[in-house]
Symmetry: C2
Subunit: 303 residues, 2 copies
């Protein structure tokens, strides 16, 4: 079900002249991008795996006023899934995605097939070494190499001036920022806030996998983060350990959850926070399995 | 000693208005590149490690008529040297390089310090997996990852339309081509022929390391390649094995050489050639140590 934004309502009748253009070939997309750059246009990119929700749309709305041409990529990137993960079952609905993109004023959807993105003989990898190895990288060791490789490809094809990523994937955002810095990509990275359901659950295409019961229990992830935020801001805790234990108890006590990790880290380099320092910033990030579904969430806190 | 080209003599009095511009900061270079692209200029890049010889100059002369602005990077990239290799002793002479660049009409030298290229926290790597592992990759396992990482950085900073590499580093050229294809860099790669000394030795900054005696013996590398070319073109050999043995005998018999490898491979994917097929192309590539100096050379042959 589509939820409309209150601040910027979707037009009910799309203007045919504003129809979003769908490009499937890399050469076609690259040619358009070069032409746009030559004519001085500012390109914005929102990379997605499709099955769009309000979180994705918020990234597009964030990008829209910052660029002349807004390009959304929709590509379920196989190299960021490990064997046994949900690649084949990952939810897809291109027609719905296309309609949603049109409503928020996307100009071009880049929607390449796998044969375009990973032709025979493909063998190059872009890897952000340390940042990709902790947090989600522990249980998904090749995931972020897949992400950085495909995002680097998208940057080279789409030639964006700005690219917008969601804060829900906080580690991904930190890794992309590091890649852009290290590799000197001429792209400004913008990280846009998490969009949540009314009960606090962070929006995710994977929420679709949850049973009614799991869905009912899932908001405890955000609740535990808010509880930790209050606890840290109260100044009663000098060390992360007890805060993490409190969160674990809260989550485990609320249903059939299996905690992958709960960590309190520096938001830039994702290094473990040993002690809360006054005036700093910390990121609490978690990944928790509910049934077969792995959900992530996080919160940034000033200490 | 500087050898002038007969086909395009160097002007003896450089025109002060044609002085090459030296840029040391990444932000400065990136800003210039963006401005050049915005004004529709075609940028050519010749990446080098400096200590320029006729081989490098031939790359610049190849690039010059193909672009509006010719940029040469001079950077002894530490990440492509392994511990124990000749990084600290690698020959450098920036003033001479600058004069040579000026004489062949280079517009900009990008000459960054290490602190610009690899700032604190740097941790990203671009790797062309299979192609980087054979030939030179066997004895220098991290070398090509260093090359592809720095070349990807240079592409993002300089934004070239074309980039020219030398055929002497045939494996490097194949790897860069693969990287550009896989990562969708909007750059055309041109590979320019090997430039040789009158006695056949391929030009290399490392030739400087050779003693008089070693220098006198070194042309046997090229002689062995030419001998193999004649043998293969004669049609008398169906399999590479005997040709390689013949080359080894010739080289070993000529002085204190230590053969790292001699291989006959497909020039595109560097896969080992099992049997000579009529109408194909093969690359014979070798790396040989003379004293402490490791030299490479190669030849392409139609079969």
């Amino acid at each position: 079900m589509l939820k409309t934004s209150k601040t910027r309502p979707f037009p009910t009748i799309p203007n045919p002249t504003d129809r979003v253009r769908v490009v499937r070939k890399i050469d076609g997309m690259a040619g358009i991008a070069r032409e746009l750059k030559r004519s001085g246009k500012r390109i914005g990119l929102v990379p997605t795996m499709g099955f769009l929700h309000e979180g994705h749309l918020s990234l597009m709305k964030c990008a829209r006023p910052k660029c002349d041409i807004l390009i959304v990529s929709i590509y379920v990137n196989p190299t960021q899934f490990s064997p046994g993960e949900d690649l084949s079952g990952y939810p897809r609905d291109f027609e719905r995605d296309e309609a949603l993109c049109e409503r928020v004023g996307v100009d071009i959807i880049f929607y390449p097939p796998d044969t375009e993105m990973y032709p025979d003989g493909f063998q190059t990898e872009v890897s952000v070494k340390e940042l990709s190895r902790n947090l989600c990288g522990k249980s998904r060791p090749t995931h972020f190499d897949g992400v950085t490789t495909v995002v680097a490809k998208l940057f080279n094809i789409v030639l964006p001036d700005i690219a917008v990523f969601g804060r829900k994937d906080a580690q991904q955002a930190a890794i992309i920022r590091r890649m852009v810095l290290d590799m000197n990509f001429p792209v400004e990275i913008i990280v846009s806030p998490i969009v949540r359901e009314p009960d606090g659950l962070a929006m995710s295409s994977r929420n679709k996998y949850l049973s009614t019961e799991e869905r009912r229990a899932a908001p405890v992830l955000h609740e535990s983060l808010r509880m930790a935020k209050s606890a840290i801001e109260s100044g009663k805790y000098a060390f992360p350990g007890p805060v993490i234990e409190m969160m674990k108890d809260r989550i485990i006590g609320s249903g059939p959850f299996e905690i992958d990790y709960i960590e309190i880290v520096n938001p830039d380099d994702l290094s473990t926070v040993e002690k809360f320092e006054s005036g700093g910033e910390v990121l609490i990030a978690l990944a928790v399995k509910i049934g077969g579904t792995r959900l992530i969430d996080n919160i940034e806190i000033g200490t």
